[in-house]
Symmetry: C2
Subunit: 386 residues, 2 copies
Amino acid sequence: MNYFSSDFKLGILGGGQLGKMLLTETRKFDIQTYVLDPSDEAPCKIGSNKFFKGSLMDFDTVYNFGKQVDVLTFEIELVNVEALEKLEAEGVKVYPSPKTLKQIQNKGTQKDFYSANNIPTADYKRFESLTDLKAAVENNEISMPFVWKSTEGGYDGNGVKVIRSMESFEGLANVQCIAETMIPFKNELAVIVTRTPSGQIKTYPVVEMEFHPEANQVEYVICPARIDDAVAEKARAIALKVSEAFNHVGLLAVEMFQTEDDQILVNEVAPRPHNSGHYSIEASYTSQFEQHLRAILDLPLGNTDSKVAGIMVNLVGAEGYTGNVVYQNIETILDKDGVTPHIYGKKETRPFRKMGHVTIVNEDITVARKIAEEVKNTIKVISQQG
Amino acid sequence: MNYFSSDFKLGILGGGQLGKMLLTETRKFDIQTYVLDPSDEAPCKIGSNKFFKGSLMDFDTVYNFGKQVDVLTFEIELVNVEALEKLEAEGVKVYPSPKTLKQIQNKGTQKDFYSANNIPTADYKRFESLTDLKAAVENNEISMPFVWKSTEGGYDGNGVKVIRSMESFEGLANVQCIAETMIPFKNELAVIVTRTPSGQIKTYPVVEMEFHPEANQVEYVICPARIDDAVAEKARAIALKVSEAFNHVGLLAVEMFQTEDDQILVNEVAPRPHNSGHYSIEASYTSQFEQHLRAILDLPLGNTDSKVAGIMVNLVGAEGYTGNVVYQNIETILDKDGVTPHIYGKKETRPFRKMGHVTIVNEDITVARKIAEEVKNTIKVISQQG
């Protein structure tokens, strides 16, 4: 297959920042792209060969879009799977496959999959509704505290809540959910695995999510994780096992907990480029976005080693600011060694909206960590004065 | 000035591969771009916010284009300078300035500039026409062999010829030209210097152009150059001196000869991203394209050090092939360690047309050099079978 400067067309469902960073790679290789997104102001509107506005959840929209391309991928899981199934049945290559997506889209199904495949994960119970879960708590079938997760539709921390008392249920939707045992963990880790249709598999190094000591919010993604080699090896091996079980094509980001006693438990996976892999653009021999592209086109996978240590800081909208975005003090961080801001191109900021990220690279991870903290304390995503 | 996700507009004259690689950086920072190029199929048609088709040499076209932007730059020197001068006079920031461009556009003026500024360069004489030059040769005012260079319009080795006898003149245009002393040199080197309007200056490491032993054609651009530290330091110092003399804004690529006795002579300069800096995308902390953008926007310059050694191989159309391009064996080179092809996006190949380049990075420069040779011997730019 001739992908380069040819009539070949890659379709991408979703036109957000992940799609945008993927387009950097399709442009580098001059591979034609069609992108579908519901927003007229999607970051992928520029950089794609053809942009289509439409719903990712509408069967006809996704189907008609998919019929125009040779290979179809997605940058967000919330897409119409039935349309993907019909497209696949009609010969369009859909990577990751609708089968993989279905195994992952519903968190209950995903957990069942881990159980069935002997993949270590926190204990859980499934419930058809919040009402059923409440009844189980009242009947002492499960005990608090535990972690509530809605099985569908959750995104970026939405749809997850720690339940410490009956009051914690307030405001939660009455939807299908799981109750998961709370795991006291030392570290939250992630490993990205990539697999091609031909079966070539490569794993990236283990990254570590460093949390704010009080806010319980990821502050830094650090590569390599500052953990023992033995733990890192175990995490990579488990991620590989997860990848082999799913038999997916493309990237699979495997999020894991390192427990107090150094067990590795799989938390959840995402079958696409992932926040935990953004560091790879500057730090790795092959960025996760190039790797995803290589995978879904069945090209040889690239080297996943790092050239240097990398740390990623998310740029989210500051509280109290809504409106046209201003990246306050961005000039100051650009003056620091090895600092690269990525601005996703959303005109309007809102509290906690993901607006961009900053990568800090250095040969010395402790220097990178120090600069990352300076970056975090310097740049602020605010809005223009009215 | 707020450049990021704002109404600020950067204009780029020329929509070729250099512009395209610059657009990767403007997209990363979400900076709006307008691009002007005569071709409807320019690589920059995708990735710019607005693309204009028109002549870069036409006063009105360039002027009207420039009036719509806040900062104007170019990726090719063959643009209408008078329009740039008028735009600058009317308050548009033009970087590099039309003054710099005029000093460089004409190779005779450029050589005079080196003489006036005590910058070491090969001896030369200027002639108003080929007729005048021939007369000088016939009158023994200059002796063969020497290097003929047309002062204007030369590009990529066009407009340069070694004159060994009167027959060598055949086919040369009767235009303004210079005759330059032939320099027996050990190495051809280059250093990229960047300067901001505020006067911050940074130099990249010295790169080496390795020539094919017979074909007298650059085969590899290698960073760092495999030369003595003392020579490298001298080359960087001279490049800095050239930069300071021009007082330019943006990138300045300074091409130099290392003579048999380790003198450094300036050959010529280009006030823009340059083929000799392509390695920086994968190998440097800051790519030359990001650096040019930082410079013309008066942002702090990035670290010019390399993370790893880098080697660049040009992808030019193979002889005997014209038509829709095919990158033969590109899958094979993608399987090699640290190999990144850049496909410029020109649909049609022609013999010697620059269609892309490949970067090879590795911690060990000798390993990179070995892989670069494999790449060079493997990939071939041909056309589809009819």
